[in-house]
Symmetry: C2
Subunit: 341 residues, 2 copies
C-alpha cells in the first residue's frame, strides 16, 4: 500500500503549501488581503484546487489561527520550567507581549479579528500541534509540585518536565486553557508559599492579568498615538502593579523582595533564569532560542520614538530562523482599496 501513502503525503504536502502561502500573504499584506485567488497564484495552482483541501476560506484562516496559537504556546514551554513562580509569571508576561509584538498579524488574527477565529485557535490548536500543548501543561504541573516543597530546585524541576515533554502527547486537551493553567499553577505556588494572600479567585486573577497583557499588545498594534511611553516601560509598570505589590500590602512586599531587587532592570530576569540553564532546556528536547529571542524582540521596541502619530514599526525581523510578521503593505483590517478607477 505504498501508493496510497505517497498520495496521502502529497496531499498533506500541498495542504501545507497552501497554509504556508496563506501565512506569507497574511504576514506581508495583512489579513484582509488574504484571498483564495492570491493563495492559488502563490502556489501556482488554480483556485478550484484549494477547495479540494479546504472547504472554504474560513477553514484556511482557522487553520492559520490554530498554528499561530500553537506557536505562542511553544514560546511558553521553556518558561514553564522557571522555578520561582513569581519569576515565571513575569517571564510569561514578557514572552506573551514579545510574541504579540513580534508577530503582529498572527496576533491580530488570533485575538483581535473575529470571535470565531479566536475560538478556532483556542479550541482547535490541539489538532495541529497537540504535542506542544500537552508538553506545556505537563511542564507546568511538574514545576508546581517541585516549587511547593522548596525554592531553588530548578534543575530537578527542569529534568522532570524535560522528560514530560518527551512523553506521549495527549492531543485532546483543551489548548485554550493550557496557557491559563500555567499561570494559575504559578499563582497556586505563590499562595501555597504564603507569598500571595489570595483575596480573590486565582482563575479570575489570571484572567485579569492576561487581559492586561492583551491590552498592552493590542494597543501597540492598533493605537498609533497612545502608548507614548516605550512598550517596555509600560509593560514594566504593569508587571509591577500585578506582581510587584500583589496581595495585601506588607506581606506581599516582603515575599516579592526578589522581584523588587532588579526593579529597573528590564530584561535580565528571563534570561537570568533561562539562559544559564540553556543546557537543561536543550536537554528537555525544546530549543531555548525562542525565549531569548522573544525577550530580545521586546527590548528592541524600547527604542521607539515617543512622538505621537507615528505608526510603530514592528521591527522584529532580526532572526531569520523565526518566522516574523512584517508590517502589512496595505491597511490590515479594511478592504483593499480600489487602486485606480
Amino acid at each position: 500500500m505504498g501508493i496510497v501513502e505517497r498520495k496521502n503525503r502529497q496531499k498533506q504536502a500541498l495542504r501545507e503549501r497552501i497554509l504556508d502561502a496563506a501565512r506569507r500573504i497574511v504576514m506581508r499584506e495583512g489579513f484582509a488581503a488574504l484571498s483564495m485567488r492570491k493563495i492559488a497564484d502563490a502556489i501556482e495552482y488554480s483556485p478550484a484546487t484549494l477547495y479540494l483541501h479546504f472547504a472554504s476560506r474560513d477553514e484556511i484562516v482557522q487553520a492559520l489561527c490554530a498554528e499561530g496559537y500553537a506557536q505562542l504556546l511553544e514560546t511558553f514551554v521553556p518558561l514553564a520550567q522557571i522555578a520561582d513562580p513569581a519569576d515565571r509569571l513575569n517571564a510569561l508576561g514578557r514572552a506573551y507581549v514579545a510574541f504579540g509584538v513580534a508577530h503582529p498579524e498572527t496576533y491580530r488574527l488570533i485575538f483581535m479579528e473575529d470571535p470565531s477565529y479566536t475560538g478556532a485557535a483556542l479550541g482547535g490548536a490541539a489538532g495541529v500541534s497537540g504535542a506542544s500543548v500537552a508538553a506545556v501543561a505537563e511542564a507546568s504541573a511538574a514545576g508546581e509540585q517541585e516549587a511547593v516543597t522548596a525554592a531553588g530546585t530548578a534543575v530537578a524541576a527542569s529534568t522532570a518536565s524535560g522528560k514530560a515533554s518527551l512523553a506521549p502527547p495527549k492531543p485532546d486537551d483543551d489548548p485554550g486553557d493550557a496557557a491559563l493553567h500555567i499561570m494559575i499553577s504559578a499563582l497556586e505556588e505563590l499562595k501555597a508559599a504564603g507569598r500571595l494572600t489570595a483575596s480573590t479567585d486565582l482563575t479570575v486573577w489570571a484572567e485579569a492579568f492576561w487581559a492586561t497583557l492583551h491590552g498592552i499588545v493590542a494597543l501597540n498594534l492598533t493605537c498609533p498615538v497612545f502608548p507614548t511611553a516605550p512598550l517596555d516601560t509600560v509593560l514594566n509598570v504593569a508587571l509591577d502593579a500585578w506582581l510587584g505589590t500583589q496581595g495585601t500590602g506588607q506581606q506581599a512586599r516582603v515575599a516579592n523582595a526578589s522581584l523588587a531587587r532588579k526593579k529597573k532592570s528590564t530584561e535580565a530576569r528571563v534570561e537570568a533564569r533561562v539562559e544559564p540553564g540553556e543546557s537543561h532546556v536543550a536537554q528537555g528536547g525544546k530549543p531555548a532560542t525562542q525565549a531569548s529571542q522573544a525577550s530580545a524582540a521586546s527590548d528592541k521596541k524600547s527604542t521607539k520614538p515617543p512622538g505621537p502619530s507615528a505608526i510603530k514599526p514592528t521591527d522584529a525581523d532580526t532572526n531569520p530562523a523565526i518566522k516574523v510578521d512584517t508590517k502589512p503593505v496595505v491597511k490590515p483590517t479594511t478592504r483593499p482599496k480600489a487602486t485606480s478607477a
Copy 2:
C-alpha cells in the same frame, strides 16, 4: 442671503443623515458590512450622491470614529467631578469598560480596527464635539486644585467645574490626550496627598492602566471563551491590582481604606459619589444619567453564563435614551459571505 444659508443647512442635514445611516449599519451589521451602497439605500439616495458630501468611504468611517470618541469622552464628564482621586480613577475605569461593552461596534471601530481610524478619532474628535472635550479637561483641572487642599469638598469642586463646563470651549485641544490627562491629574492628586509613592512616571502609569482597561474590553468583545469569570469580577480584580494596593505596600493600603471598605460591592461606588450629587451635576449643565447608565450596563453583564464558546450578548439596550450598538447580524470584521452561488 437666506437662500444660501438654507442650502447650507440642507447640505449639513444630508451629511448628518448619511452619518446616521452609517452608524446604524455599523451597529446592526458590523463594521465590515458598511458600504456606500448600503448607506445610499438606507437614506434613499444614489451612491453617487454620497461622494458630494464625503470624499470616500474612509472619510465617513473617520467621522464615525470621531463621533464615537466624543461620545466616550462625554461619559467621563460627570466623573471628573468626583472629589476623591482614587474614587475618580475607579469610576473612570468602570465607565470606560462599561462604554466599551455597551457600544461594542463603536469601540471596535475606534480602538480595534485600524490605526488610521484610531488616529482619526484621537486627533479629530475636536471638530465634532470640541465643547465636551474642553469641558472634560477643565473639570478635571478644577477637581485637582480642590482635592489637594482637602477631601470631602465635593460640592465646592463640582460647582467650580460646573461653571467650567459652561465656559467657552477651546475646540482645538488634542482630544486624544484629554482622557489621559484626567487620569494623570487624579494620579497627581494622589501623589500630592502622599497616598501614592510614585516610583514610576505618572504618564506611564496612566497609560498602563488604560491598557489594562482596553484589554478587558477588547477581550470581552473578541474572545468567546476566555474571560470565564463575569466581566465585573475581572474588572474588580484589575481595579484592585491598580488602585487597591498601589504604591509601596503599607502606605497605600492605609490611604485606600475608603476603597477597601466596600471591596465586594460592585457598582455602588460611582453612584454613591455621583448620584447624591445629581443636583450638582445637573446644575453643571450635563446630565448625570450617562454615568449611572454606564455602570448599570456593566453590572448587567455579570449575569453572563460562565461557560465557554458562547458569544457574549451585549445586552445594554435598556435605556433607549442612549444609542447602543446591538450585536451584529453578520460577522464583524470579515467580508460578508457570498449569499448563494
